[in-house]
Each structure stands twice: as C-alpha cells, then as structure tokens.
C-alpha cells in the first residue's frame, strides 16, 4: 500500500509542477462542461421532460458522470491508455517493479485536464442536486462504484490490444460509454436499452446511480454492485491473460 501511495504522490507532484498550466487545464474543462449544461438548459426550455427525466434529474446524472469520469480519466488516466502503453513498449517499466503492474499503471499518471470534471461534478451536485446528508452519501457512494466500473470497463477493452494488436476498440469503447452515459437511459428502448445494462454498461455509470440518489432501492444497489464485480473480474482476467502474451520487449529494441 505504501508503494501505491508513493506512486500516487509522485504522479500528483508531476501533474501540479506547473500550477498555472494546471489551473488553466482545469478551467478549460469546467468551461467545456458548462457548454453541456447550457445545452440541457436550452433543451428543457423547449421540452419540459423526456420519459420522466426533467432538468434536475439530468443535472444529477451529469454531476455523477462528470465526477466519476473525472476520477477515472484524471486520477487513473492510464486506464484509457493501455493500448498505447502496450504498443509503445511502455509497459516494460511496470513489469520490473515490486508491485502489481496494473495497480502501478492506473495510479502512475494524473491528467490535469480531467481534474476539472471532478471539480465541476461536485459543484454541480451541490448547486442543483438538492444535497442532504443522505443524498450526499449516496452521491459519493454512487460515484465511487461508477468510477470502479468505468475503470474496469476501460481496462477490459484496452486489454484487447494484447490479443488483436489493435487499440481502436479501447478508444471507441471509451467514447461510447461516456457518450451513452451522458444521456437519460430511458430515451432508448428494446435491445438498445438492454445493451446499456450489459455489453456497454453506461447505465450503471450515471443513470442508475442518479436513480439511487433520487429514490434509493436495494435492487438498484445490488444490480450496480453485481455489474461492477463482473467487470472488475473481467478486467483483471483480461489484463492478466494479456500480460502473459506480452512479448514486445523494450521500445529501444525496435530500432
């Protein structure tokens, strides 16, 4: 554990070494998120609600998504870079260390721009989420589980590169889950909606946690924990099996 903390500390020091650049990046992402809020305000100005989702519920969904995605893409930013690390041979440095390579990779790098998402998500919840102690606790719990699920999903898809040599599934998967999670799940019907609860578990990244904050139910909590557990097992298995096939060696050897 102390090794992990040391790596986290180093990653933070690296990311905040230039405070001006750090805050500029955070500000840029907050502005970016504000544009999406502007979209939803304009949308709900014309359409009062969509299949039970009104502005308040969508803001809550967006707050959870921004915070969870900000944690994953900001503080565990290598979760989305596994294909790139494998293709460039950058995985080698993790293999020689006395700690789990996956754990090391996940905490090794902080992407400052996505830290802005975390700031924005928390502020959005405080401003529009009608925070009470119970809702705040559910928000925090939902964000933690959603971030775990998102990390596991990205690692699983990223690990496809070990078997196919192609990194596109990882990149596409990330865009897909973030995009699909950003809209009310009930706008989809039939098989498309089913996919969001299974293959691309976008519903569990924002819509289900938002539902839990609004109307807590043990069924939703159990479903969310089950989905997260399944993807964590998948991620560990895919990365572990992939690592056994990893033979690229040092990037220096490629001439």
């Amino acid at each position: 554990m102390s090794q992990t903390l040391a790596v986290v500390r180093a990653a933070f020091t690296d990311a905040t070494a230039r405070p001006a650049a750090f805050w500029t990046q955070v500000g840029a992402m907050v502005a970016n998120d504000l544009a999406m809020i502007a979209f939803w305000i304009l949308f709900f100005h014309q359409v009062r609600s969509v299949r039970g989702w009104d502005a308040d519920r969508v803001f809550l969904l967006f707050a959870i998504l921004a915070t969870a995605a900000g944690i994953v893409l900001g503080f565990l930013s290598n979760a989305r870079r596994i294909p790139e690390l494998v293709e460039t041979g950058s995985l080698d440095e993790a293999l020689s260390l006395p700690m789990s390579p996956l754990r090391y990779l996940l905490v090794r790098r902080v992407d400052t721009v996505n830290v802005g998402d975390v700031v924005f998500g928390v502020v959005l919840f405080l401003v529009t989420g009608h925070p009470t102690p119970q809702r705040a606790a559910l928000f925090v719990g939902g964000v933690v589980v959603a971030a775990t699920l998102l990390t596991a999903f990205l690692v699983t898809l990223g690990s496809v590169v070990f078997f196919t040599g192609r990194g596109e599934p990882g990149a596409l998967g990330m865009h897909a889950i973030l995009l699909l999670a950003g809209y009310p799940v009930d706008i989809f019907t039939g098989a498309a909606k089913g996919l969001l609860y299974t293959v691309v578990p976008a519903a569990f990244v924002a819509a289900v946690p938002a539902r839990i904050v609004d109307a807590p139910s043990w069924r939703d909590v159990a479903l969310m924990l089950l989905a997260t557990a399944v993807f964590v097992v998948l991620a560990r298995t895919a990365f572990g099996l992939g690592l056994r096939r990893y033979t690229s060696g040092s990037a220096w050897g490629r001439g």
Binding site: A35, R166, L172, L179, I187
Partner: protein, 281 residues
C-alpha cells in the same frame, strides 16, 4: 548544423511566376485528392470514424425522437425530421479531425510549418486543400452509412430535392469549418499554445452551430446571434436542408462565409508567417 542562439526569421518562397488562380486551384486539387484517397484507404481509421459518428447520431436522434414523441413536433420538426437533422449535423462535424486546431497550432508553435513555407504555394492554401480533402473523403462514408441508418430509424428523407441540396451544403459546411479552424489556430503564431481553444471552438459549434440542437430551439436573441455567426454554416444549414425545410438561400449564406473565412485564414497566416521565428536547424 548547429542551432542559432536566437530565433531566425523563416524565408518565404516567392510565388512562382505565371501562377494564375486557376492554375493554383488545379495544383491544390492534387494534394486534396491524395488526402481523400488516403483516408478512404485507411480502413481501420475509417471504420472507427464511422462507428463513432453512428454512435453520436443514434444517441442524439433518440433524444430528439423521444422529445417529439410518436406524433408530436419540437419547434416545427417531426420525430423523423429531427432524426435526419441529427444525422446530417453529426456528419458535417464528425468528418473533421476533432483536434484539428490543436494539430495546426502544434505545427506552428513547433516551427514545423516553416518547411511548408518553402513551397511555391501559400501554406494555408495547401493546408486547406489537404484537410478539406481528408474531411470530404470521410464525409462520403459517413453520408452513405448515415443515410442508411437514418432511413432505417425514421423512413426516407423528407424531401428528395432538399436531400440533394443537403449534400452540397454538407460539402460547403465542411470546408467552411476547416477554414474557420485555421483562422482560430493561427493564434498560435502569437500565443504559441492554442490547445485549450479547440474545446471552446467545438462547444460553440455544438450550440451556435446547431450540431446538438436545431437553432429554432434557442431563445430569441441567442437564435438571432447564432444565425449571424459563421457556425450556422457548418452544421445547421446542411441539417435543416436534410429535414426538407429551408431554401437554397442557405447555400448562398454558406458560400458567403466560405469566401470570408478563406480570405481571413489567408490574411492571418500571411501575417503570422512574417513574424514566425524558428530556433534550431
């Protein structure tokens, strides 16, 4: 070669003698066509672009269809028209490299643009030709796949003639967008770092360009502002034509913005090139 201690002004190649505008256009067609062929030959990259475009379009059209309901309308558009709107607007924007501004800015701030200045054609002209060629090559794939998907979800295009106008409008919108991104990225000649601007530019196109929503959704003053901005020529114009609404006047507005933005890009690049200094050899 050792690097000079101070930055050195980059020599600009003089225009080749006898280079008429028509000849310039013919010469620019070559890199544009090559860029198009390259995009279409890169099957992996093309599939990724198409899948991403489909994802965004399907999600947005689902949102608007749900908002309109089976027989209702939103700001005068039916669910089927909103579906065609979403696919056309997304095709117009998704066909261009998301981080084009960042890429141009890096080429300027790193000095690699200096090599392009040695060519007997204006830097910005060649860049516009190559980027437009790339985007238009990709657009062909997006239009084919997107039309099929929209047809499956919402039935045939609302009006065949408007559909044809929308195709022309899409091509115009793409070139307008590429030119505008060159204007914005040229700030790198002064600022060196324009990485954060692509975020803001993109979001402006999302809202004022009508990529996420028809401009009729915007409240009064904001709608007027959006209709007077060049961003409407990038996504709203082709998307509105794809819904079977709007007139050919939209194409004229797009052509007007194209002239203005290409001239602006040429002007800011010419000024920037004069002040560009590159360190190193």
């Amino acid at each position: 070669m050792s690097a000079p201690a101070r930055g050195a002004a980059v020599p600009v190649a003089p225009p080749a003698p006898g280079l008429t505008p028509l000849l310039v256009l013919r010469r620019l067609a070559v890199p544009a066509a090559t860029a198009s062929r390259r995009v279409l030959a890169d099957r992996g990259g093309l599939v990724t672009s198409v899948v991403f475009f489909l994802l965004v379009s399907v999600v947005l059209s689902a949102l608007w269809r749900a908002a309109a309901g089976p027989s209702g309308t939103v700001v005068g558009y039916t669910a089927a028209e909103l579906t065609w709107y979403a696919f056309a607007a997304e095709a117009a924007v998704c066909t261009i490299d998301l981080r084009l501004i960042e890429r141009i800015g890096e080429d300027i701030s790193s000095g690699s643009v200096a090599v392009e200045m040695l060519r007997p054609l204006p830097v910005v002209a060649v860049r516009l030709a190559v980027e437009s060629g790339r985007a238009l090559g990709r657009l062909v794939a997006l239009v084919v796949v997107g039309s099929g998907a929209a047809w499956l979800l919402a039935g045939p295009p609302p009006d065949a003639l408007h559909g044809l106008l929308a195709l022309v409008s899409l091509a115009l919108g793409v070139v307008v967008n590429v030119a505008a991104q060159h204007v914005v990225a040229s700030a790198a000649f002064r600022l060196r770092d324009v990485r954060a601007t692509w975020f803001l530019y993109q979001k402006t196109v999302f809202i004022l360009g009508g990529m996420l929503l028809p401009l009729e959704v915007l409240p009064g003053a904001l709608r007027t502002l959006a209709l007077w901005c060049p961003f409407m020529a990038m996504a709203y114009a082709p998307a509105r034509l794809a819904t079977g609404q709007g007139t050919a006047l939209l194409l004229l507005v797009q052509a007007g913005w194209l002239v203005v933005l290409v001239a602006a890009a040429a002007f800011v690049f010419a000024r920037g090139q004069r002040r560009l200094e590159v360190v190193g050899g």
